[in-house]
Structure formats: C-alpha cells, structure tokens
C-alpha cells in the first residue's frame, strides 16, 4: 500500500505540486496524464526523492517519510523501496546491460555476486535481451536501452515502480517493444505509477487514470470513466488535444 499525503513541491516561487493526496493499492496500476509542466514528472521524482518535496508524507510499505523531517536514512530507505524508469533510460554508461541490473543488487542490497548475476540474466531473458548481457549501453538501440532500464527496475523487487514517460524519448519504431515489456510487468501484479502520453496504452493497462493540472489532481477514476466521460473542462480540452 502506497499512501501520499499533502505532497508539495515549490521551485522558487512556483508551486509545482500542490498538496497532492494519492493512495495506490498493492498491485494497482495508476497512470498519470496531463499537459507538460503540470507536475506529473515532479510527482514521480518527489516520490523517489530525486527532487526533495517541501511538505507532505510518503508511505511505501513500511517506509514512512515526512518530507519536512526526512533524514538521509529515510531518503535512502524510500529510494530502496521504489524503482525508477527514466525517460532518457539513464543506464550506467560504464557498465554492461547485465552489470546495470546487478549494480543495485550487489552494491545496495549486498547480495552475493553470483546470485545477483543469475537474477540479472533471468531478468534480461524476460526483457528479451539475453544475448545483449555483455553489451554496453552505447551499443544498444533506444528501445533496447529502455528495456534494460525497466529490467534494472524490475530486478530490485521494489514495492513501487515509477515510470517517467518511458517512451517519450524513443523513436516511434521502438515504442511498441517497450510498451510490451511494461504490459508483462503489469501482468505480474507489480504496483506501478506511470506518467505517459500513450493514451491507448493508458486505457489498456491502467486500473486508474489520474489527470493532473496546475500541480493538483483534477480528476481520477477508471480509464473508461476518465477518458470517455470526462467531467472537468480542462480534462476535456486536454483529451481533445491529444486525441
């Protein structure tokens, strides 16, 4: 169970997240939609403390962090309970595909190297990249890099996986394979919080769609309700633009 209360983030004088409340049940897939600059990515980055929130609490499993009093240990605990998939993949450039996945297991989780390697190879097989285990990121296509990026997040076994526009930086030809992999992750009842502009994918994968505007959650509900019978005018305008 993930529980976000009053999450607030300001950059300078601008309030980017305005007291966000959001609960996510175990195994639930929540997709966040909205125009650029409405705080979607900041929400994900604050949940992972890549951006430090100014106020609010985040509870992921046993880890409860109060933004105003968060110590370094709280921050690390929260990051270790979550896994992040970046828009620009952000694979470790000095490590092979396999090493990218092993890194969190060996360095952070202190697991034995051979066990971590077995896990990494199993995850790579799931992503369909077993034969790329020893390739460096620079030798992989965008789609392959993002699949390794998802594999890196999968291997951690996090309570919550965060996807920050995982297909936005991809050439169109690679989008399909990345979405396919995310479907497979979803089938494993992994709790997911996804920011995406892929509306069809959102409809198909989401248990709940959340529409954000101006740093607030404006409307939320099952995909057909939010996407087909939107109530808020801003959501209607947004859906007309992306349709």
């Amino acid at each position: 169970m993930i529980s976000i209360r009053g999450l607030t983030k300001r950059f300078g004088g601008t309030t980017v997240l305005d007291a966000i409340d959001l609960d996510i049940a175990d195994g639930e897939r929540v997709v966040v939609i909205g125009s650029s600059g409405t705080g979607k990515s900041t929400l994900l980055r604050c949940v992972n403390f890549l951006d430090r929130p100014d106020a609010g609490t985040i509870a992921v499993g046993d880890v409860v962090v109060d933004a105003e009093r968060a110590s370094k240990r709280d921050m690390l605990a929260l990051r270790r309970a979550t896994a992040f998939v970046f828009q620009n993949y952000a694979l470790f450039a000095n490590k092979t595909a396999k090493e990218n996945i092993m890194e969190a297991l060996v360095t952070v989780q202190r697991r034995p190297k051979d066990e971590a390697e077995r896990r990494a190879l199993a995850v790579l097989a799931e992503t369909g990249l077993a034969e790329k285990a020893d390739s460096y990121p620079s030798a992989l296509s965008g789609g392959q890099q993002q699949r390794v990026g998802i594999g890196r997040a999968m291997a951690i076994g996090a309570d919550l996986m965060l996807f920050d526009e995982p297909t936005s930086a991809l050439d169109p030809e690679w989008v399909g394979e990345v979405l396919d992999l995310m479907r497979r992750v979803a089938e494993q009842r992994q709790t997911m919080l996804i920011v995406t502009h892929e509306m069809q994918f959102a409809r198909e994968i989401a248990d709940r769609v959340v529409f954000m505007d101006g740093g607030r959650i404006v409307e939320a509900g099952p995909p057909d309700q939010v996407l087909d019978t939107p109530k808020d005018e801003r959501l209607r305008r947004f859906l007309r633009r992306v349709a």
């Binding site: 992040f84 450039a93 890194e103 952070v108 951690i156």
Partner: protein
Amino acid sequence: MRALDLDYMLGLVPVILGYVPLTLFMASVAMVCALVLASLLAVERVIRVPGLDWLVMLFISFFRGTPLLVQLFLFYYGLPQVLSFLAQINGVTAAIMGLTLHFSAYMAEAIRAAIIGVDRSQWEAAQSIGMTPAQMMRRIVLPQAGRIAAPTLVNYFIDMIKGTSLAFTLGVTEMMGATQKEAAGSFLYFEAFLVVAILYWIIVETLNQGQKQLETYLNKAYAR
C-alpha cells in the same frame, strides 16, 4: 665548433639507463599518491564539505601558485628545521612528497572538471536505486570521470617524470644527477646533457604510445 664525441655519448647511455628505474619509481609512486589525493580533493570541491572547502581551496591555490622547485626546497631543506621528525627525511622521499602535493593540486582541478562533466542522468540513476553518495562516487561517477580526465592525467604523469629531474637538487642521484656527475668529470657537458635529454624524450614518447592504448581501453564501453 668541435665534433661530437659519439663514443663518449654511447658509453654514457648504459650509465644513465641504470638510473631510469629510480626516476620511474619516484614518478610512479608520486602518481599513485597524487591520484588518490587529487580524487579526494576533487570530490570535496564538488560536494563542498562545510569547513573543509576553504582548506582544500587554499591547498590547491598554494601548490599551483608556487614553483615545484621552491616546494621541494621547502620540504627538504626548510621543514626539517621546524619539524624535527622530518630531520631524517631523505631526498627521494622528499621528492616524492613534493611531486605528490604539487601535482595533486593540478590533477584535482582536472578531475573536478571531469566529475562535473559526467551526465546528470548518471547521478540520478545512481540515486534512484538507493546508492549512498560514497557508492555513487566510487561505482558510477569517478569511473566515468576517470575516462574523461585520462588524457589530461597522462599529461601530468609525463610532467611528473620530467619533474623528477629536480630531485637532483636535493642530492638524489637519478638520471639528471648521474648525468651532472658524469659531465663534471669529463667536461663534455653538451654530449652528456644531450644524451639525458634524448633518454627522457624516449621515455615520454613510449608513454604517449601507451596513452593511445589506454584511451582505446577506456573507450571500449562507449564504442558504437
């Protein structure tokens, strides 16, 4: 104008070659120590530990702002008068210390620039998986910064090898010191210093070849 005494020069080569190991030893030990010290200084300059930052800046400023020869004299002839435990310091140790401190100041700036040059996404990816700042530096940032800084660092190593010649002013008989002694005996200064110059040149050129191989190795992760 007189002819070069080629026989004398050829005879001098094996004599000076005998001191190459000492020159390389001083440069190598100083390089390893300087790399470690420079990495620590560079990391401090990037994360800026309160209360430590001004000290690091002062250190870097002093060792970049004064000549290596002055620093060597300060260590070898000066400091033992003030700090009695340094009274037994020998020339080789003093030279290694001086080279280490002097070059670590320069190398710290090169490594600092390289650390800043590592893409922001690499830092964030390391943070996102829950690495501590120390783990992030050691596992992700410094290895990538090392690649960026490698050509500059090899250049400093080359400077360092040439810098060991100053150790002869501390009474160390290394390549330069040995040449000086030989020349003083034969009065064939031109021949003697020409031989040692060529030997330094060969050592440096050999290293330049090594640098190319090092860069190929370091770039293997980035080749398309």
